[in-house]
């Protein structure tokens, strides 16, 4: 859209009635200062609840442009640039993209000019040079909920430690890394911190890379915070139109927020796409208030962060033990020669064959991880010769949910998988093998996550993890050492019984 430029303010072209003047795109103006807030203005509370802390396209706001503009004139709303182009470099103000590869231009029917837009965040609606981003600049809504946590459970001693550190980070607006092994029970240790945040009127968000996790966490939190309106946001979700003290969202959805959160909790900070994607780091940065606290949760922090934790350079709390007080199962390494060549010739290395057979005989279920879909699918028929019920699953598999379910009910004895089952999904009593553990796909963090699938339930706290390889990598050694170190620490602190 275009704006008519006045000395002190702008008017959207659609609302201009007969006044002459220069119509310009928001990208071509220097941002005029937001107008001063008029405290006597009877602002629309619904608009406030909807827009506060957001950064939205006009199409995303279910209020008339007249009403939005009226709030702008009284200092409650501001129009901000969407895409900036200084003649050399492009910058997307929504997602922070500045990589020329992810911009394209077209002759725009709205501004009648060559108009650059951001392709990086196109899935959230197009932001181009003539697209303003609309933000709320009036007072933020107040809320306060006393004693909102209704939870009967108890925390383990290490969860208690973490919970105290989290509360402190919320209170003192600090950054904190919570390094918790797979199975430590990280959801519970957030409860008290979030209660404290909400009690003191601090808006909080939990962001996670995967929609599955949003869907899983929302009812869990709603159950323990029954009186708190929780917004659950992911691609295609409904409740976008609520102001909520607690937001549970995919990291992508943070792009629609602007200096909104006093406390931002980022789950699985090591996982795709957050660490892989600069865009989502920017999103997290922009969605948080300047002095807001930032809490990272992970089972496998990146190497730099690990070093910082051990040297005391990073505020962190480590949970080295699972809630069931058994040690983490440690992977063993098994050399299996040039397995790729073998698979291509229609063979499976003997060691792997034996490993599979002994599982089939004892009836223990297993996951076998492959680095690539193609090799896995080539190998599948040879596995099926041992047992026709063996299946394979990957990210683009339309029957993915059904296969995971069949694994749960025991109808599949052994499931071949790519790294999609590396996190999140848990089966109570399984062994795990990695075929081609030397592959680049299997980073230190991926291998720790894979090992974390084993021994999760208190009834079956142990299990076998074998990394079949054609050459040991640094990632394999580091992942094993990481798990050994955690067990040592847990023993020292008396957090495991054996």
């Amino acid at each position: 859209m275009l704006f008519l430029k006045k000395d002190e303010y702008v008017i959207p072209q659609q609302l201009v009635k007969g006044e002459a003047g220069e119509f310009v795109r928001i990208t071509d103006m220097t941002n005029p200062k937001a107008l001063p807030v008029d405290p006597t203005f009877p602002f629309n509370q619904n608009l406030q609840l909807f827009l506060s802390g957001r950064k939205l396209l006009l199409d995303e706001i279910p209020f008339s442009l007249e009403e939005i503009h009226n709030h702008y004139l009284h200092g409650y709303v501001d129009y901000r640039q969407g895409v900036i182009f200084d003649g050399k470099r492009l910058y997307c103000c929504r997602c922070g993209n500045k990589d020329a590869v992810f911009f394209a231009s077209f002759h725009c029917a709205r501004c009648k000019k060559k108009c650059w837009y951001c392709r990086k965040c196109i899935m959230m609606g197009r932001v181009s040079q003539c697209t303003p981003l609309i933000i709320w600049t009036g007072p933020t809504p107040h809320f306060s909920f006393q004693k909102s946590l209704k939870w009967q459970g108890t925390l383990s001693p290490s969860q208690k430690d973490a919970s105290i550190k989290i509360k402190e980070a919320v209170r003192e607006r600090k950054e904190l890394l919570v390094w918790a092994v797979c199975g430590a029970g990280k959801t519970e240790m957030l409860f008290e911190g979030i209660e404290e945040a909400i009690q003191s009127g601090k808006r909080t968000a939990i962001a996670t890379p995967r929609t599955d996790v949003v869907l899983e966490l929302t009812p869990r939190f709603q159950q323990v915070f029954p009186d708190i309106p929780i917004a659950s946001l992911y691609g295609g979700s409904e409740d976008r139109h609520r102001y909520s003290p607690l937001v549970i969202a995919t990291t992508h959805q943070l792009l629609r927020f602007h200096e909104a959160f006093d406390c931002l909790i980022i789950d699985e900070v090591d996982a795709f796409p957050y660490s892989a994607d600069e865009m989502l780091q920017t999103a997290a940065e922009l969605a948080r208030k300047k002095n807001g606290s930032l809490i990272f949760l992970t089972a496998t922090p990146k190497e730099v962060w690990q070093a910082e934790c051990y040297r005391g350079k990073r505020n962190c709390v480590i949970l080295p033990a699972r809630f069931h007080r058994y040690p983490l199962p440690i992977p063993s390494f098994g050399w299996c020669g040039n397995w790729r060549e073998k698979v291509k010739k229609g063979q499976i290395p003997l060691k792997i064959l034996q490993w599979v057979k002994s599982r089939l005989v004892s009836g223990k279920q297993a996951l076998i991880f492959f680095p690539h879909i193609e090799l896995m699918e080539q190998a599948l028929p040879y596995f099926q010769k041992m047992d026709g019920r063996i299946e394979a699953v990957h990210s683009e598999d339309p029957n993915r949910k059904e296969k995971v379910q069949a694994m749960r009910t025991g109808d599949i004895p052994i499931l071949l998988t790519t790294t999609i089952l590396e996190r999140g999904v848990t089966f109570p009593n399984i062994d795990v093998a990695v075929v081609g553990a030397e592959d680049d796909t299997f980073t230190e963090s991926a291998l720790v996550q894979i090992a974390g699938r084993v021994g999760r339930s208190p009834q079956f706290p142990t299990g076998d993890i074998t990394f079949f390889h054609y050459g040991i990598t640094r990632a394999m050694i580091r992942s094993r050492n990481q798990l050994l170190r955690m067990n040592r620490q847990a023993r020292m602190k008396g957090l495991i019984d054996s």
Binding site: V101, A104, F106, C108, A109, Y117, I122, M123, G125, R126
Partner: protein, 240 residues
């Protein structure tokens, strides 16, 4: 040494290795807009295809076509109003799930760059079709403002052609779930654009993103024929 910068696939953002051969050394790298993995998910129209609407016949039950013409087209040909209105349609790909996603990203998300995926192939097709004027199916003004561009126009422009607007939409785009019969008797959707240059006795090629039922294209064709066009054909990215 890296001779040429690596491009990223417009669809999946994975790097595409540039093909280097004598041609690329002379004329610069031949840049592929998408990777092979993505490209393999499109399904090109294969012969035998309906002589009129270009729909693939190989997967169709033989009782749904006769002498190389599909039953839908036979019905169009039986109507006195629509007989021979659209001489022929040519499409590049079948409208499979993958194409549906790409078109949705192009039209509804507004990712204009999608038009560049098809520019080379459309260019080649255009060279093989005998026509005088290339006419995009227009959008209504509201819809054009909403989307920021007309997908048919963009496909033509990115293929290096010069589309000419002869038509204007007087009806909204919403082709609601009407029966085929109702669609055949639809009121006027298009009228001639005031700024249309004369096109008497010209061979016209309409361009659009998808041929679904063929009724939109025929609505456009009939107006052009009434105003003196000699023949009207159509070209679409996908055949639904």
């Amino acid at each position: 040494m890296q001779l040429f910068k690596t491009d990223l696939c417009l669809l999946c953002s994975s790097p595409i290795a540039p093909t280097i051969n004598w041609e690329s050394l002379l004329f610069g790298p031949n840049q592929k807009p998408i990777c092979e993995k993505c490209y393999a998910q499109f399904s090109p129209i294969r012969e035998p295809a309906c002589k009129i609407c270009n729909r693939s016949l190989d997967k169709l039950n033989p009782k749904f076509y006769q002498d190389g013409v599909c039953n839908d087209c036979i019905k169009w040909q039986q109507s006195s109003k629509w007989k021979n209105v659209l001489e022929k349609n040519t499409s590049l790909f079948e409208y499979n799930d993958f194409m549906a996603e790409v078109i949705a990203r192009f039209k509804y998300r507004g990712d204009y760059a999608m038009a560049k995926i098809f520019s080379q192939q459309l260019k080649q097709l255009l060279q093989n079709i005998d026509y005088d004027l290339l006419v995009p199916i227009p959008l209504s003004e509201e819809r054009l403002y909403e989307r920021g561009f007309n997908q048919a126009d963009s496909l033509a422009l990115e293929a290096g052609a010069e589309p000419i607007n002869l038509l204007r939409r007087i009806h909204s785009e919403k082709q609601s779930k009407k029966s085929r019969n109702e669609r055949i008797h639809l009121p006027q959707v298009f009228q001639l654009s005031q700024a249309a240059p004369p096109f008497q006795n010209k061979h016209i090629l309409l361009i659009d993103d998808v041929y679904t039922t063929g009724s939109t294209l025929r609505q456009a064709a009939v107006i052009l024929l009434q105003a003196g066009a000699k023949t009207v054909q159509s070209l679409t990215l996908a055949r639904g």
